[in-house]
Amino acid sequence: MRKQERRALICLLLAFVLFAGTGVFTYRYFKDGAKWAGFYGNTQIFTDGSINRGTVTDRHDELLLHCSPDGLEYSDDWTTRVSTIHAVGDLNGNISSGAINMFASQLIGYDIVNGTYDTSANGKTIQLTIDAEANRTAYNALNGRTGAVGVYNWQTGEIVCMVSTPSFDPYEGVSEDNEESIYFNNFLSGAMTPGSTFKLVTAASVIDNLADRDEFSFECDGVNQYGDSDTEFRCVYEHGEVDFREALAVSCNGAFGKLSRELGGKALKKTTDQVGLSKSLEFDGIETAAGSFKFPTDDDVRLSWAGIGQAQDLVNPCAMMVYMGAIANGGEAIEPTLIKSTSFIDEIRGAKTIGRYLDESTAAELKDMMKNNVVENYGEENFPGMDIYAKSGSAETGGDDSDAWFVGFTNDEEAPYAFVVWIKEGGAGASDAAPVAGQVIQSLQNSNYYE
């Protein structure tokens, strides 16, 4: 008997396996329950594959999307639909980072205790941080060109404007030939040649690494042949003798090529990594595309090209925007977000920091130089009422025209915005991208100054 009794303990082992398995599942439930509940196979909250409850609004409670068992109801206004579709998302989940897909569990009012229990079956309202008016302005300013506009509050992290073109109207059919590009969110998922905007990274590296940068000078002849080869770091015109500060203001390729060589590949790579351009950002469950760079240590020519944002450099617009915010914020980068926090606790805790991108002194010097760019080159009168700091870029990508960039920030207690504008084959940054930024900031200031 005793032997059998002792062996009966094997049942305990089985019981333990059952217990442990249930424990594992419970753990997974707490970890992934929201994701599971928001899965389109959940017929409780999906009718014909389409979410059947919940509302999405912009930061001023303007309706962007209402879900009901009858289908999805977007804004009545065409421009609003087209300019916010990448933020709101579409029925079929083609826009993977859209709110309807990313925040399905919030939309359906899921919580761990009550699940999707909801007597009214109306779901919850998600307030996005974007400003519909700013999005419309940005969309109109892009005026049919392919591009991306992103603006966020570099103190709170709230993305107030996010537009990607080409776009589409969810109420209209989509022709198959441009399907890929219209679903693609250039701002979050794109990676493009940064052109001269990258000089802000090279400049940061110079400030950090070259103590004698005040003695730097370069004689620009407009062509700037280098070495015995026929490599030329052409400028738009003959800049003559420029120092470091002046070189950024006029965006002298020759000078920055030389600075890059003085820095070396290692230092440039270190700074690029440090300011977050080489890795992807993660916020609200969204993962942005990572930038990619090559800084050869044995090829001066290619290193020079890399230092002025050409060659194999690719940057993600969102990451660039966050870097602008970090310069504005004394070197500390704030994590972006697309959902307006509703909880009191979140308000108190404030913005989430990603970490320190730059030393405070480096940020200050860079900021000063970016102001100088505007004063000397872009003209403050073009940005009325805005305390603006910026850098333009015109990236050569082999297209008919260069890609136009304009990146920077405003230093304004009421409206502290960091922005990025990219227009594919849009021409020159200062003349073609800068006005888009100006109009969007203007719009944001109008609607948010006294909120």
């Binding site: 005793r2 059998q4 002792r6 019981a15 599971w36």
Partner: protein, 545 residues
């Protein structure tokens, strides 16, 4: 919710804290070795450390003889082909036979004198007092009332959730269940029985079962209830029948015959559903013979200590197991085959002595080979999606049922959407194979997990109760039944939530299905038979246990 937690908590705590004091049935006196209390009905005498009555002398065999209780004064002694033989009053015992021992008879093993004496009257009294001091099982009334309230609330929820779709038959089923539950407890209580925790757990789980069945298809609730009542009746019958060990032993060959027939009929007339041919129809009645054979499988695998040392019995069991597995393999019923195989392994482990191990291991290996051959392609298919059900190309194909189970199950949160409000019922087999998700959605994760805890509690209790067990027969029965419940629950729950490939077996008591319900209740008889708390078990005559 709170009510459910309360019901289960009381039952679980009561089951796990009250325990039986081993009784002393007599004393075994050894020359120069003192006296050993005999606490079991069946005892191995021998040199082996695991022997119940241990005589550490080299002249004594490891397992010398078996001493089993005949009645209050008499014992039976059987020699286990010991090296030096066993002698009673100078006569050598034939190892094929059992010999009746009177108190004071002179037993000689390996040159050692010993004898058996009954406990003195005084000791019997002490024993009685000790058992009286055992913690009493909780009075059933509070739990009973709680379950009834729970049932009433369930009906209200169903009516609110389903509106006009609910039928009078479904509502009546709940009322009948409540009445039967009260009648059961009142009747046996009036007969002086105590300890109804296991039945309370089963009644609670059955309530959830009726709720699931009603939510899925209200017109089938009454049928489910009938199966449930038949199950309760079968359980009571089995409890009474199991009281008499000799009688039970005699019925086993008949059980083997019936089981063999049932599986054979299934093989010939079986109807396929979801790939497995495990259904037969008799007129309009549909049943799964394998569910019933499961019951017999437990009793056939169990044996008294004497039988465990009997080669013929072991061979018989091994052959029967092999036959069952072969039939299940032919039926393509991988899930049930796994249950039988797992139970076979556990029971074999319990049975295996020195020589039976060989036979049992050989059959296990053979069975394994058979399963591998038969289910290779089938298993490969299921295992392919296992652990990957959320992969985009699998979630709507091989992982369809699992992703729906988890998704809608998670939609229920911790507290559930309410009985009748679920959406998982739109998925095939949601009330049987995916019932864990069904309960999660309508009743919440807490109750779903509590149901698993119910099964665990029942099996823990089975293990704890055998400490005071009388015969290995009951021990093996209880462990066999516990193993079946545990493996079944594991396969059902883990299969539906992708911790294991989906095999399509039922959750005891909870899954919809007449045969499953019936066999779950009947299986409870094996647990009751091992419940040695005073007056707790129907399967033990009053005052005796």
């Amino acid at each position: 919710m709170v009510l459910a937690a309360y019901i289960l908590l009381i039952a679980i705590v009561s089951l796990l804290t009250t325990r039986a004091t081993p009784e002393i049935w007599g004393y075994y006196l050894v020359e120069d070795g003192g006296s050993f209390p005999i606490t079991h009905w069946e005892n191995v005498i021998g040199r082996s450390k695991s022997a119940d009555l241990n005589i550490p002398l080299v002249t004594v065999s490891n397992n010398q003889a078996i001493l089993s209780r005949y009645d209050d004064d008499h014992w039976l002694l059987k020699d286990l082909e010991s090296e030096n033989g066993t002698f009673v009053n100078g006569q050598q015992l034939d190892s094929d036979k059992r010999y009746l021992i009177e108190p004071g008879d002179e037993i000689v093993m390996g040159g050692v004198y010993s004898t058996v004496t009954p406990p003195s009257v005084e000791e019997s009294m002490n024993n009685e007092v000790m058992r009286r001091m055992d913690k009493e099982p909780v009075a059933p009334w509070k739990i009973l009332l709680a379950i009834t309230i729970f049932q009433a609330m369930t009906v209200v929820q169903l009516v609110l959730g389903m509106g006009e779709k609910i039928t009078a038959g479904a509502v009546a089923s709940f009322i009948v269940l409540a009445v039967v539950m009260w009648a059961y407890v009142t009747f046996f209580k009036s007969m002086g029985r105590k300890g109804f925790e296991m039945e309370m757990i089963a009644f609670f789980m059955s309530t959830i079962n009726l709720a699931v069945t009603t939510s899925f298809d209200p017109s089938s609730t009454f049928k489910e209830l009938v199966a449930l009542l038949l199950g309760v009746a079968l359980m009571i019958f089995m409890c009474v029948y199991l009281r008499d060990l000799e009688r039970t032993k005699k019925v086993r060959p008949i059980l083997i015959g019936l089981s063999v027939m049932a599986l054979l009929i299934n093989l010939i007339f079986g109807r396929a559903e979801f790939g497995a041919t495990n259904w037969i129809s008799i007129g309009s009645l549909q049943m799964q013979p394998s569910e019933i054979v499961k019951l017999a499988f437990v009793a056939i695998g169990a044996g008294t200590l004497e039988e465990l040392y009997d080669k013929r019995n072991t061979v018989m069991y091994a052959l029967f197991s092999l036959y069952c597995l072969a039939c299940l393999a032919l039926m393509n019923d991988f899930g049930t085959a796994l249950i039988f195989f797992g139970t076979y392994l556990v029971v074999s482990f319990l049975r295996s002595g020195d020589f039976s191990r060989m036979i049992l291991t050989a059959v296990a290996a053979g069975a394994m080979g058979l399963m591998v051959l038969k289910f290779k392609s089938h298993v490969a298919e299921r295992f392919a999606s296992w652990g990957h059900v959320w992969d985009p190309e699998i979630m709507d194909a091989g992982g369809y049922q699992q992703t729906r189970t988890m998704s809608m199950g998670a939609g229920g949160g911790l507290l559930g959407l309410g009985a009748g409000n679920g959406s998982l019922k739109g998925v095939v087999a949601s009330n049987t194979d995916l019932v864990f998700g069904f309960v999660m959605e309508e009743w919440g994760l807490i109750i779903a997990v509590l149901l698993v805890m119910c099964i665990i509690t029942l099996s823990l209790f089975a293990v704890m109760s055998i400490v005071a067990g009388r015969s290995t027969f009951y021990t093996i029965c209880a462990c066999g039944a516990a193993t079946i419940f545990l493996i079944q629950t594991m396969l059902n729950v883990f299969g539906s939530i992708d911790l294991f490939p989906l095999t399509g077996v039922t959750f005891p008591f909870v899954s919809t299905g007449g045969t499953s319900m019936l066999s779950s209740w009947a299986m409870l008889a094996y647990f009751k038979a091992s419940d040695m708390r005073r007056d707790a078990s129907l399967a033990v005559r009053r005052g005796e246990g």
